[in-house]
């Protein structure tokens, strides 16, 4: 057990699965990667994008806020 450990790339279940199929556990291969490519996702001013990362978690008091979305990651769409 790893206390405050954030992630275990060698989770025993994943290791067992990979061993069963004789495949490498790519999670433990160590490539950290870099930043993903940016750009290319342009929204029109005032347009509420729905394919976003933060669809409303609203409770029932939240009523359709629908602020213009300049950043697709920071949108709330509201509920009924």
């Amino acid at each position: 057990m790893t206390g405050a450990m954030i992630v275990d790339h060698n989770n025993p279940q994943t290791v067992a699965f990979c061993n069963m199929l004789g495949i490498s556990n790519f999670l433990s291969l160590g490539h950290q990667g870099g930043q993903a490519q940016q750009g290319g996702h342009v929204q029109q001013p005032g347009h509420v994008a729905v394919n976003t990362d933060e669809i409303p978690l609203d409770d029932e008091e939240d009523v359709v806020p629908v602020a213009p979305a300049a950043n697709a990651d920071e949108i709330e769409l509201g509920d009924d």
């Binding site: 790893t2 992630v7 067992a16 409770d59």
Partner: protein, 389 residues
């Protein structure tokens, strides 16, 4: 076999199990369509992308620590609000606690002969062609990109030849809104209108899988609204597969004589778990008998084996290897001999619940530990601490 399907869970395990309990134990299996939030401790909260006001631990940790036990076998996929660090550990799927199974970033399993596939995450074209490069501790960017659907997983699922009974996704397949009562949906969610009509609502990756796999049932969540639809897949004599809406549009219909076969997918999106919301659906599969176990799927195992090399390498800035050739979408379809080989060599297909291993300390033990070692920040692992001390 009685199956309950739940939309977005958002950590409300107690509430959903309580609702199932009021049905008198009539449910054998619970399927959850994402935003499960398998948060074990405060550190996991740091790995979950969520607005500050919704940042809460929830009750999963009690199941993780063994204080509570899931009363119903539960299978879930990931959404866009997850303990992504924990789910990444179990990329190929696994038990997140006793009686609760994560289907993986992509996966297929069998329960009582019911064949269940799923794709975790949501679609974002910015990251679709990239490898799974994210590793904790996540930045604010990777905390989100980690749950974006990747082409490699869609390609792997596309290799399935045998019919799926059920498929789970978090976001909706693109254009699925046209296969049900579109106007009724837009009356409830008026702000969807623009994207429904410009065909940008939903996941093109999921739409591709819907047209390819043609499962009997497809369940989704994400938009917090109940929406049923029926998709009729038509295979023409030329061999191409199309989908036609149940709301007849003569201009889009294939000539009757070209129709050779038709499969139907019954789509259902469900709401999040809140009072008076349509977050739960019960289905009876009378031809299937629940035996209490989850079984590996042989065809899927063969695909995983055959495509494992696609997951390796990549630095996060480059496209997936050119081995993914869209001109030959069935490049990695396993042969019957491959599947038979696995059948003969694997000792058992059952995924034993005893496989579950706790890899982190659950709240509140984690909390006590963190306070007793103030120099260890949340993002430093115990292993790192060992090196530091």
């Amino acid at each position: 076999m009685k199956v309950a399907i739940e939309g977005c869970l958002h950590g409300e395990l107690d509430a959903v199990y309580s609702a199932l309990g009021r049905l008198g134990g009539a449910v054998d299996l619970l399927l959850c369509c994402g935003d499960f939030q398998s948060l074990r401790n405060d550190a996991d909260l740091d790995a979950m992308a969520v607005p500050q006001k919704y940042r809460a631990l929830g009750c999963f940790w009690e199941y993780y620590c063994g204080r509570k036990r899931a009363p119903v076998l539960t299978i879930f996929i990931g959404g866009n609000h997850e303990a992504s660090n924990y789910l990444l550990e179990l990329f190929h799927g696994g038990w997140v606690c006793e009686n609760i199974y994560f289907l993986g970033f992509a996966g297929v399993v069998n329960v009582g002969g019911l064949r269940i596939g799923g794709l975790s995450g949501i679609y974002d074209h910015k990251h679709y062609y990239l490898p799974h490069y994210e590793r904790p501790p996540f930045s604010e960017d990777t905390k989100r990109s980690v749950y974006h659907v990747r082409e490699v997983d869609v390609v792997r699922l596309s290799q399935l030849s045998s019919k799926l009974d059920v498929f789970l996704s978090h976001d909706w397949p693109t254009d699925i809104a046209f296969y049900g009562e579109t106007e009724r949906l837009l009356q409830r969610k008026a702000f969807l209108r623009r994207e429904v009509h410009d065909h940008s609502l939903g996941s093109p990756a999921a739409a591709q899988l819907l047209a390819t796999l043609k499962p009997k049932y497809w369940f989704a969540a994400h938009l917090h609204v109940k929406f049923p639809a029926i998709v009729t897949h038509t295979t023409t004599n030329s061999g191409t597969s199309t989908s036609s809406t149940s709301q007849s549009d003569p201009s889009t219909q294939q000539p009757q004589q070209e129709k050779a076969a038709a499969d139907i997918t019954r789509f259902l999106a469900l709401d999040k778990c809140l009072p008076r919301r349509d977050y739960l659906q019960l289905l009876d599969f009378p031809d299937h008998v629940f035996d209490g176990t989850i079984q590996h799927d042989l065809e899927w195992l063969a695909i995983v084996q055959k495509t494992a090399f696609l997951l390796e390498g990549g630095d996060g800035r480059r496209r997936q290897p050119s081995a993914i050739d869209q001109s030959d979408p069935s490049l990695f379809v396993p042969t019957p001999a491959h599947i038979e080989y696995l059948r003969e060599t694997l000792p058992s297909l059952e995924i034993p619940a005893a496989n579950f291993v706790a890899t982190a300390v659950g709240y509140p033990d984690w909390n006590r530990q963190a306070h007793s070692a103030p120099t260890c920040t949340k993002i430093i692992t115990n292993n790192c601490c060992i090196y530091l001390y």
